[in-house]
């Protein structure tokens, strides 16, 4: 049985213990964009190296256990967007958004489309483009809890240049 177009796979809340088991499972799913192993014993043992190993076989993976991988882009950001009465709320809290990734992670996932020095600006552009495309006419709320480096980068390089109305900038300061 094969699922050549499978993008989202969730085993949330099971009793999976073997990382090798996971790797065997995803080996035939090169187009996977999201994998949820939350609330499984194996998830507690996963680290940056595990993420890099998974990315080596699933290079398009943007979400792993509800955290964003270094590959995250508009597809993953869309999971965090809520619209209420035409006002957009972007909840990026606790997504462990990579504004920088470690050299060891880069060496494992050597085909990442950027170098470590490029990551900050590249991700800022991704977020700016997403907000401008999906959060019109206004960005009512932006939750960056748990992403202090990203919050800093956004304040410096993204928020002042957005072409959408920012309605609650105070939310950022309140949660940092």
């Amino acid at each position: 049985m094969q699922f050549p177009r499978l993008e989202k796979l969730s085993f949330w809340g099971n009793k999976v213990t073997s990382f090798q088991d996971v790797m065997q499972c995803i080996a035939s799913l090169p187009h996977l964009k999201a994998l949820w192993l939350n609330d499984n014993p194996v998830a507690a043992e996963m680290d940056d190296e595990s993420t890099a190993m998974i990315l080596s076989v699933c290079p398009n993976l943007e979400i792993l256990n509800s955290k964003f991988t270094p590959q995250y882009g508009p597809w993953a950001l869309s999971f965090t967007l809520t619209k209420v009465n035409h006002h957009a709320v972007l909840d990026l809290s606790d997504r462990r958004m990579y504004n920088r990734i470690t050299p060891s992670s880069l060496s494992r996932a050597s085909d990442l489309p950027y170098r470590s020095s490029d990551i900050r600006e590249w991700k800022a552009d991704v977020i700016r483009q997403f907000v401008e495309s999906h959060c019109k006419p206004s960005l009512w709320g932006l939750n960056l809890k748990g992403n202090p480096a990203l919050a800093e980068a956004l304040e410096v390089s993204v928020l002042p240049t957005l072409k959408v109305r920012i309605s609650s900038l105070e939310l950022i300061a309140a949660i940092r």
Partner: protein
Amino acid sequence: MILESIEGAEADQEVTVVEIENRALGTIGIFGQVLANMVHDAAPGFSDRKAHAY
């Protein structure tokens, strides 16, 4: 399309989402044998449910 069971199915070119949650699965190694639960092709549940922070 939502399939309650795809056990024994042939390769499915259309399935984009597989969700097997809270089933006490201890192993997922034999991938084809555990995909006997819920399969969605457009994942409406993922965006609608807020119980998890997907």
